[in-house]
């Protein structure tokens, strides 16, 4: 049995028969995108790890409720999104946050707003510009409503289709389109200063 080459569906079927290796393979497949979504919603690494971990645990411990006609990843993202949103609502987390790398005060922020130098030939002024853009867009995402933030991250960072996002966020397709359109519009406005 080659776990790495198995489809999500096959792995889920094995998990339902108690196969822990299949579960571990699914965790390694989705830990990055799930963590990324949660992190961009809460902006705190430790908290994001806790919430993402809980999302995975809930997913696996309630596999009996999973409908295999839907994509496993959509179900997992839905649980992660709902759990994070619940947390944000409970804590009334201040979603207006810091202003990006130049003013980043924590290591997380610096990491989140930094851009990896992809080649040795990249010029320092280009790198600085990229960092400035990265910082600005992180700060702009920070200021979006949590719903817009989740929709835009799922669409343009996780490459999810509109239909999947509707499934994950449990909202009508039209609402997804509105959220993404408004989020992009707000990001455009907030990033306008970079062109000046």
């Amino acid at each position: 049995m080659n776990y790495a080459e198995s489809s999500d569906k096959e792995l889920v079927a094995r998990c339902r028969r108690g196969d822990e290796r299949a579960a571990r393979e699914l965790v390694s497949r989705f830990e990055r995108p799930v963590f990324s979504l949660v992190y961009r919603m809460v902006r705190d690494r430790a908290l994001a790890e806790d919430l993402a971990q809980e999302a995975f645990v809930r997913t696996f411990n309630h596999l009996d409720r999973y409908d295999p006609t839907y994509k496993f990843s959509s179900w997992l993202f839905k649980i992660a999104h709902n759990h994070t949103l619940d947390h944000l609502r409970k804590r009334e987390l201040d979603t207006v946050s810091i202003q990006g790398a130049p003013d980043a005060t924590t290591r997380d922020r610096q990491e989140a707003t930094s851009i990896t130098l992809e080649s040795a030939s990249e010029r320092p002024d280009e790198l600085l510009e990229a960092k400035r853009t990265g910082a600005a867009i992180e700060a702009a995402i920070d200021r979006l409503r949590p719903e817009y933030r989740a929709a835009i991250v799922l669409r343009h960072l996780e490459d999810r289709s509109y239909e999947e996002i509707a499934e994950i966020m449990e909202i009508p397709l039209g609402t997804v389109k509105t959220y993404i359109h408004r989020a992009r519009r707000e990001l455009q406005e907030k990033l306008a200063h970079l062109r000046e």
């Binding site: 965790v27 990055r32 963590f35 990324s36 359109h181 990001l187 455009q188």
Partner: protein
């Protein structure tokens, strides 16, 4: 969406169509009708450029990863559904005491009924069975009493106790009673303290068993 055609100068592209043009790589892969409109409409052209800029900026963002121990931490808390034969074995293993007691009771009952029937006794009614059990239990109890008495006499313990009481003074008896009382009190206090200290563990065990 591919069939979209501009109906007039006031008509503009939908957000989804703008996104499609912004994501098209190379741009020629986008439907011709949309590209034709953008060539004629500065507002939509501007919108496509701006949308592409945002999408590209988002794509540039670093992908976040959890710490290396993330998967292990998840797996520690996951309890996957187990196959029926595993669950059946766990059920038996966790309740072996109760099941053994049930087995012994069932076997004892079968033997008792067998003996009853073999002894040519009348049809067993609850009253007759209880009467039979009463006689058997009484016989077993008195048999045990006789056995213990016989042991005490033959082992010399009874004689030792008799000698002890013959030499027991009032002061000695008071000291013995006081000492035993003190011992009992100490044991009670120790037991109380142990139970009080173990309360959190007991609560955890209680919660886990639910």
């Amino acid at each position: 969406m591919n069939d979209w055609k501009p109906q007039g100068p006031e008509m503009h592209l939908e957000p989804e169509q703008i996104e499609r043009l912004a994501l098209a790589s190379p741009p020629e892969t986008a439907p011709e009708a949309l590209r034709a409109h953008v060539r004629e409409c500065p507002r939509c052209a501007h919108e496509v450029t701006e949308t592409r800029r945002v999408i590209e900026a988002l794509a540039e963002l670093p992908r976040m990863a959890p710490s290396p121990g993330f998967a292990d931490a998840v797996m520690e808390r996951v309890s996957l559904p187990r196959p029926w034969h595993v669950r059946a074995w766990e059920f038996v293993a966790s309740r072996w005491l109760v099941l053994s007691a049930l087995l012994v009771t069932a076997t004892g009952s079968a033997i008792g009924i067998g003996r009853w029937v073999a002894g040519g006794r009348p049809v067993p009614t609850p009253g007759r069975v209880l009467g039979f059990l009463g006689v058997e239990l009484r016989r077993a109890f008195w048999g045990a009493v006789v056995d213990v008495g016989r042991y005490l006499v033959t082992s010399g313990i009874a004689h030792s106790v008799q000698v002890f009481f013959e030499h027991l003074t009032l002061t000695g008896a008071a000291a013995a009673v006081g000492g035993l009382g003190l011992l009992g009190l100490t044991a009670s206090l120790v037991l109380f303290k142990l139970l009080r200290d173990a309360r959190p563990e007991l609560a955890t065990l209680n919660g886990a068993s639910r």
